[in-house]
């Protein structure tokens, strides 16, 4: 994750703190971490009703959850468990494909291609409440594409797109973070003519 934070600082005006903070759902300070990152490959223990309630409240009232299935393939343990859990947490909302004009694809970069370590999906999924998508789900293992070793070398290869796919993964990561801090800012009318013109270039 250090790589995405470095890139965030390098490319954007965001002043990020380079520290990892691991939180549990019962952590009283969970609500003061308005960006939660959840990642996994395998099935996990179902949440308790109390944890589901905390997560429901967190998502409904301002929190942001970015979830990654890092398996690099569809339909495995983590994917199955997460889909089941999110249905339990938000029974009246659906995890849906985000449309290509969703602000998350426009917040910083104009993104047409999905990146990641494995290009499992050409899209992101998310749960949208009104005009805000507090849950974004990726199965392309973005964090796998960002990972570097202590010598600065990439840990994983990106397949099948190679470095272009890695670059897209960074762009997507930056867009997701900027989206978590600006919401649908890029949907304001003032941006519309610029974005449309550039997309037609």
């Amino acid at each position: 994750m250090e790589a995405i934070v470095e890139e965030l600082e390098l490319r954007t005006s965001i002043d990020a703190l380079k520290e990892r903070r691991i939180a549990t759902l019962s952590d009283p300070d969970l609500f003061f971490c308005p960006f939660l990152y959840v990642a996994g490959k395998y099935a996990f223990e179902p949440f308790t009703p109390r944890e589901r309630e905390i997560l429901r409240r967190y998502i409904t009232f301002g929190g942001f959850l970015f979830v990654e299935d890092t398996m690099g393939a569809k339909g495995f343990g983590f994917d199955q468990t997460f889909r089941k859990e999110i249905k339990e947490i938000l029974p009246n909302r659906e995890l849906k494909r985000l449309p290509t004009d969703h602000p998350v694809f426009q917040t910083f970069y104009l993104i047409g291609n999905m990146g990641g370590r494995q290009k499992v999906n050409a899209y992101l999924e998310g749960v949208t409440i009104d005009n805000w998508t507090p849950v974004i789900y990726s199965q392309n293992d973005l964090s796998g594409a960002w990972a570097r070793d202590k010598f600065g070398n990439w840990v994983n290869e990106c397949v099948p797109g190679g470095e272009g796919q890695r670059s897209s993964a960074f762009k997507m990561g930056i867009n997701i973070i900027v989206y978590s801090l600006t919401s649908d800012y890029k949907k304001d009318l003032v941006h519309h003519p610029f974005i449309k013109r550039r997309q037609n270039l």
Binding site: S13, I14, F32, G62, S180, T182, V190
Partner: protein, 730 residues
């Protein structure tokens, strides 16, 4: 005397009286029978008859006979002379010299045979002035009598005078109130004044205008204009805001006496109270020009609060504030977030970037005035703004705009605001160095002023509000600032043993300014959610910050109720106002004040007292002249200004004489309409004769009270005694 004039009223039952009469008759017959042997029949009959008469008369007194006398007398008539003293009586009279009231005075007091004098000789007269109320007058008062009151009510006057007078004479131009329907309690003879045919006037009769309007939305004012004697001519009707012409339209009349309604429309762009006037230039020969103009007050409000927010970087502070703004349908937000600084490397072609140029020049030179609130959110402004734009911000605030700065690491822009217009307008002092602290946790509490200020008074319940702020989570980062003397600290942060202003507000020029010295206010939102509570305190705080800054009336703790009817110069005006529950400190300590300023801006005398409940007040003042009066109601926490238009008494006055109205009134009362050409004295006398009444007096006197009845009885008895002696019975 006839038998019809005699009545009886027996003091005993009739049967007893008849029994006594019978015994009397029997006694007389017995007497006759006894004495006829001595005196012979004729003499015995004479004596017995004399006795019988005396007895009958005595017994008949028990019938209590009375004698009725009827006497008819002619009544000396009481005449009420009513002089109309309403405003229109001050207009030129029929001869064009002097007013209509002068015309009436001339008839009553002047000439070889003044009418008042002539009437006094024939009638019992009493003079009255008929204005808003009926006033009794003396003849000496007539010379000094002036017109200027509101229209008098004739029906009401008749009700008051009907029991005192037998007839009334009214001198008027017919501009009177009259309740339809006959009322013959007091016949009224009317003398018309003024000349309806020669009357020339243009007047603004009525206007229909909203009391408030929204900025940017068209306002239509319907103006009803009436004209007398200007058929075929065209006139401009203009609408002005102060001395500035807004719009004008032409009107013309097709009839000598016509009414035209025209709509005048405009789109207000400036907020606040506007003193509008609608007028028609005075025309040649106009009898009255002061009714050619009407003043009105229009309060222009925002339909939407327009906010321009420039954020130094994407942040949670920005996202939560944006959420709060978007949550409020009355807010129109235009925000720019600096996504990259000049030193950041974006490294992609333009078609892959969503970044847009910040239109700084357009915003700060052209568009700024169209916003209500400008927010700098943690903005390193030296990267984007030239110092000249700071001047634009100062002028914007000075002219009534509002400005807020939200804290963060770039809040002070490394001391670059020092000595600039931004430093001048802020309610805090700035440091030379960046003084952002993220090394301590800052607990936030309400200051003394914050307990009652509309921004931080999130709940009307004082204790609950205090508790609410105590529950708010600590802040992880704040800017260290010192409030200026002109600034008011509402929230203070306690951390590392010091107290720092977190939320400070102030005024600059006509505008308001606010500094929130933290980029962690979002924690007040998520902190309450974490506790399982509602998120409304944060949303309400942001909403109230915006509304206070933009002087939104909904946030005023003072609610003013202006009089529904337009006031007149010289008439006491009353206004009611209420200080909200949340401004309890002001109410408790009596820090509520009312100031009234006349159209020239000079403060005039006003009174204020509590009315009804403790938080309701009644204010009053006496406007001496027409125009727009400014009312200022202040408490330490709030200030409200209202405009009240005081009209000229002549405004909207339709002064054309209405003899037909006088005819309706006089006919309905059983009187008649006279003409000035008539010999008024003779006409009044003739009419008075018809209505002349006579007084009939009926008087009864008991016969037994009359001495002659007793003398007659005595004569009867004495004659009987004398004859008895003569004839040798005694």
């Amino acid at each position: 005397m006839t038998l019809n004039q005699v009545s009886i009223s027996p003091v005993f039952p009739l049967w007893l009286i008849f029994l006594l009469l019978f015994f009397g008759l029997a006694a007389a017959v017995y007497q006759y029978w006894v004495i006829r042997r001595k005196l012979g029949n004729p003499r015995a009959a004479v004596l017995s008859l004399l006795r019988l008469c005396a007895l009958f008369l005595l017994i008949s007194f028990a019938l209590n006979p009375s004698l009725w006398a009827r006497k008819e007398q002619k009544v000396y008539q009481s005449l009420a002379i009513l002089l109309d003293t309403s405003q229109s009586m001050g207009l030129p009279g029929a001869a064009g010299k002097g007013s209509r009231l002068d015309e009436a005075k001339g008839i009553l007091l002047n000439g070889p045979a003044p009418l008042v004098k002539s009437l006094t000789e024939r009638f019992d007269i009493k003079l009255y002035g008929l204005g808003e109320s009926l006033k009794s007058l003396e003849v000496e008062d007539l010379a000094g009598l002036k017109a200027g009151e509101k229209e008098g009510d004739v029906a009401e006057a008749i009700d008051r005078l009907a029991d005192k007078h037998s007839m009334a004479v009214l001198f008027s131009d017919g501009n009177l109130k009259w309740k339809e329907g006959p009322s013959k309690r007091l016949p009224l003879v009317a003398v018309p004044l003024g000349d309806p045919k020669g009357y020339k006037d243009i007047l603004i009769k009525t206007i229909q205008a909203p009391a408030m309007a929204f900025r940017g939305r068209e306002v239509v004012i319907d103006v009803r204009v009436k004209g007398y004697g200007y058929k075929g001519l065209t006139f401009p009707v203009h609408l002005k805001d102060g001395s500035k012409l807004i719009t004008a339209k032409n009107i013309s009349f097709n009839d000598p006496s016509a009414e035209v309604t025209i709509p005048l429309s405009f789109t207000p762009e400036e907020l606040g109270p506007h003193h509008l006037s609608i007028g028609i230039p005075p025309q040649f020969g106009e009898s009255l020009t002061s009714n050619n103009a009407v003043s009105l007050s229009l309060k222009v409000m925002k339909d939407k609060i327009r906010i321009l927010m420039i954020s130094g970087s994407p942040s949670l502070s920005y996202r939560f504030m944006r959420m709060a703004f978007k949550n409020d349908p009355s807010i129109d937000l235009l925000s720019f977030v600096v996504l990259r600084t000049p030193s950041d490397i974006i490294n992609v072609p333009l078609q892959e970037q969503s970044l847009i140029p910040l239109p700084i020049e357009t915003l700060f030179t052209k568009e700024l005035k169209s916003f209500d609130l400008l927010i700098f959110d943690n903005l390193p402004s030296h990267l984007y703004l030239k110092p000249i734009y700071f001047e634009s911000v100062r002028e914007f605030v000075k002219g009534g705009g509002s400005f807020a700065m939200i804290g963060g690491p770039f809040f002070l822009d490394e001391g670059r605001y020092l000595g600039t217009a931004i430093e001048e307008i802020l309610p805090v002092r700035l440091n030379e160095k960046e003084d952002y602290r993220r090394d301590a946790s800052w607990r936030v509490g309400l200051s003394a002023a914050g307990k009652d200020h509309p921004i931080t008074r999130l709940s009307p319940d004082e204790a609950y509000n205090l508790n609410l702020w105590q529950e708010m989570p600590s802040l992880d980062g704040i800017n260290l600032l010192v409030a200026k003397n002109s600034g008011t600290i509402l929230l203070e942060g306690e951390g590392d043993g010091t107290s720092q202003p977190i939320l400070t507000v102030g005024h600059y020029g006509s505008g308001r300014v606010l500094v929130l010295a933290t980029d962690y206010s979002w924690k007040w939102y998520m902190g309450m959610v974490a506790k399982g509570k509602d998120n409304w305190p944060y949303l309400r705080l942001i909403e109230r910050m915006v509304r206070w800054l933009t002087k939104d009336p909904s946030l005023d703790s003072i609610q003013v109720t202006l009089p529904e009817k337009r006031g007149w110069a010289g008439q006491e005006m009353e206004i009611r106002f209420k200080v909200g529950e949340e401004d309890s400190l002001s109410r408790r300590k009596g820090f509520v004040s009312l100031s009234v300023f006349d159209p020239q801006g000079l403060r005039i005398k006003s009174q204020m007292k509590t009315a009804g409940q403790g938080n309701e007040y009644l204010g009053s003042f006496l406007p001496e002249k027409e125009g727009s009066y400014k009312l200022k109601i202040e408490t330490p926490a709030s200030r409200v200004e209202e405009n009240l238009v005081v009209s000229s008494p002549m405004e909207g006055l339709d002064g054309v004489p209405h003899p037909e109205q006088l005819k309706i009134i006089s006919t309905a009362t059983g009187g008649r309409l006279l003409s000035r050409e008539d010999d008024l004295l003779r006409e009044i006398e003739t009419y008075a004769e018809r209505t002349e009444s006579r007084f009939v007096e009926l008087r009864s006197s008991a016969l037994w009270e009359k001495p002659y009845t007793f003398i007659f009885i005595l004569i009867l008895l004495a004659t009987e005694w004398y004859l008895r002696r003569r004839w040798g019975l005694v």
